[in-house]
Amino acid sequence: MTTTIIWTIAIITILGTVLAIVLYLVAEKFKVEEDPRIDQVESVLPGANCGGCGQAGCRAFAQFCVESEDMDKCFCPVGGNDVMQKVAATLGREVAAKDPMVAVVRCNGTCENRPKTNEYGGHQSCRVKAALYSGDTGCSFGCLGCGDCVAACQFGAISMDPQTGLPVVDEEKCTACGACVKACPKAIIELRNKGRKNMRVFVSCVNKDKGAVARKACKAACIGCGKCAKVCAFEAITIENNLAYIDFSKCKLCKKCVAECPTGAIHAVNFPVLKPKPAAPAPVAAQNPAPVVSSEAEGRVEKSVEPIKKEE
């Protein structure tokens, strides 16, 4: 009995020692060398794994940052400048601050502006709908309204407004990861500069049809008349294929184009509400504190722009 116990202990000990040596040798031979900085960088990233940076996830992005020579090519839209500063500090490099971005829905084809020409009865998905036909209104460029962007957003920043049938971006929650931009088959969502105090001016239309055709399909369509481009003092507006586009890097937020647009296709958001006085171009209007940003506030301020315009 005792001998059995002794033998067992001895054999197990020898077996354990031999296997430990084998394991050690194998581990040495097939050791994976990994830069310890990858772990360090990953620990400061948000960990959302959203893919907004263009990499397969946060760890892949960390590896990309470590291996990349040029820090300008690496940007985590979710973490923003703060996180990028931390990443740069971990790696002992410098990084220039980038302007914060936000997703902007460039369609104002509300149920009121854009009457339906047919009824869509198929599967409620923008991609499926877009593959079948041009949509249930006369405009073949605008929002299809099935909410693929809402499903794509991991941050709960987009919701469909049941009243307008259009998606609304919550600026507080939007991280500018670009998932909605990729999800939209009509490419109506764009990442634009958040702007000074969140104030932005943009063309809320992507219709490339000729003016009359676009106008017939939607009351709020850009008709490519070019009035905005003429009135802009900073050459920020270009007209291509019957469609105006405002370059946000050149726009000085003077809002002259907003007043000039005959269809109200140009939207100014988050500007402080002015007293009903002919709207003087308000580049310094930002002296007033900007209203708290939320999707609802955005809607209200947006609407307040129109009466000012009509007075002129």
Partner: protein, 453 residues
């Protein structure tokens, strides 16, 4: 009786308009001819506003290898060349022509006499098919001359003429098989000769006994007339959807299976629709370009006197045809171009007919309602119905989770979009809608990978 080996469904065939003779539609005051009437690159317009054109004159030239000529279907003056919304509401270049009289270009034989002597030079035949803009009229509108030139090293063992017309409601192929049977047989003989005198089989579903009789009579009559017609036979096929699918037809007639991502010619088959055969006959024997085709105006909600089979010219507005046929019935909520299984709902009735137009089908609210989707109960009906042997319930799961590798392993790229899965699903899962999108993605990935190599 022969049929394909896996899957398939049995919808009610509803061939209501089968006894309506083909009528010729009068000319409208204006036509709008699209430059994209075929698979491949849209043709390039060669006329401009103000030009006077005759019927049968080339107005747009092919813009690539897979592309086709487009001819004017009327005589008159070109009013404009510009964007116009097509059947799906998307902008496409259309050539607008004001109709003046009905004068045809020179060299076109408009008589009814049957020309049975086939030109000997195959190159000349192919050139005529190409110059006259013949495309496949079975649905895909693939340029016919490309299909009739097998790639080097491959040989056609059999030409299959598709007279199955397995889609419910449609009767245009049935009518031409009854009324133009001899022309179709001559067209088959022409294509057979181009393909190196392989045998030709005309496959017709059993629910069209008169067409089978007419085609058999035409074949035997022409066989006594000349040697070129030997080797053509008529085959009765079982009534089962999608009997007229290219791969299904090859399986039924030749008992051969086309491999994944393969072409029919890989197994020695060339499949052409009977309407294409008629177009080939007209192009080669009569030098008449493809500017006319036959379309069915039908639907359960349409009174019998308003059911029609029309010979139309390309570029006629659909609303004009609907008006001529007696208007759109009030109970119709959806108008379909093509059959109810694979056709497309028309978003815009101002759109015009193209070479491949096959029907105006009116469906009622009851027929088009989509019930709410419920959970998959794994009954396997979709897998039983799939004629390609796929597992749609699995594919839709993978597709919803963007699992591209698994989708490819499960051969989503083989889907022929016949709609059998959607038809058979008791849980109303939009299987085809989801699978079609994922199939496009997977094919893009496969092509991208092939391009990289």
């Amino acid at each position: 009786m022969k049929t394909f080996s896996i899957g398939g469904i049995h919808p009610n065939d509803s061939k209501i308009s089968k006894d309506c003779k083909i009528e010729i539609l009068p000319l409208p005051s204006k036509v709008f001819i699209s430059v994209a009437q075929h698979l491949g690159a849209p043709a390039t317009p060669v006329v401009k506003a103000g030009d006077v054109v005759k019927a049968g004159q080339v107005i747009a030239e092919p813009a690539g290898f897979i592309s086709a000529y487009v001819h004017s279907s009327v005589s008159g003056t070109v009013k404009s060349v510009g964007p116009r919304k097509d059947i799906a509401g998307n902008n496409m270049t259309h050539i607008e022509i004001d109709v003046e009289g009905d004068e045809w270009a020179e060299g076109i034989d408009l008589s009814d006499t049957l020309v049975t002597a086939i030109p000997e030079d195959n190159k000349e035949i192919l050139e005529k098919i190409k110059l006259n803009g013949v495309v496949g009229l079975g649905g895909a509108t693939f340029p016919t001359h490309v299909k009739l030139c097998p790639p080097p090293g491959k040989k056609a063992d059999c030409l299959i003429l598709n007279g199955a017309e397995c889609e419910p409601y449609l009767t245009s192929d049935y009518r031409i098989m009854l009324e133009r049977s001899k022309e179709i047989v001559v067209g088959a003989a022409i294509m057979k000769q181009v393909l190196g005198n392989c045998p030709a089989v005309i496959g017709i579903e059993e629910n069209k006994p008169e067409a089978i009789k007419a085609m058999t009579a035409a074949v035997s009559e022409l066989q006594s007339a000349g040697k070129a017609y030997s080797g053509i036979s008529v085959m009765t096929l079982k009534k089962k959807y999608p009997q007229g699918g290219e791969k299904q037809l090859i399986d039924a007639v030749m008992k051969r299976q086309v491999k994944s991502m393969g072409l029919p010619i890989d197994v020695g088959a060339v499949v052409q629709n009977v309407a294409t055969s008629l177009a080939v006959y007209e192009a080669v024997q009569k030098n008449k370009p493809l500017v006319t085709n036959v379309l069915t105006v039908t639907g359960d909600c349409l009174p019998m006197e308003n059911q029609h089979n029309y010979q139309f010219r390309i570029g006629m507005p659909l609303s004009y045809i609907a008006e001529h046929a007696g208007g759109i019935p009030e109970s119709a909520v959806k108008v379909i171009s093509g059959g109810p299984m694979m056709g497309k709902a028309i978003a815009n009735l101002d759109a015009t007919t193209v070479k491949g137009s096959s029907s105006l089908l009116y469906l009622t609210a009851e027929q088009t309602v989509r019930n709410a989707e419920t959970a998959c109960i794994r009954c396997g009906k979709c897998a039983e119905a799939c004629p390609m042997g796929l597992e749609p319930f699995l594919l839709q799961k993978y597709a919803r989770n963007s699992m591209m590798d698994e989708l490819e392993e499960n051969a989503i790229q083989d889907c022929i979009e016949c709609g059998c899965c959607l038809y058979s699903c008791p849980a109303n899962i939009p299987l085809l809608d989801i699978i079609r999108i994922a199939k496009g993605d997977v094919i893009r990935i496969i092509r991208g990978r092939a391009a990289k190599k």
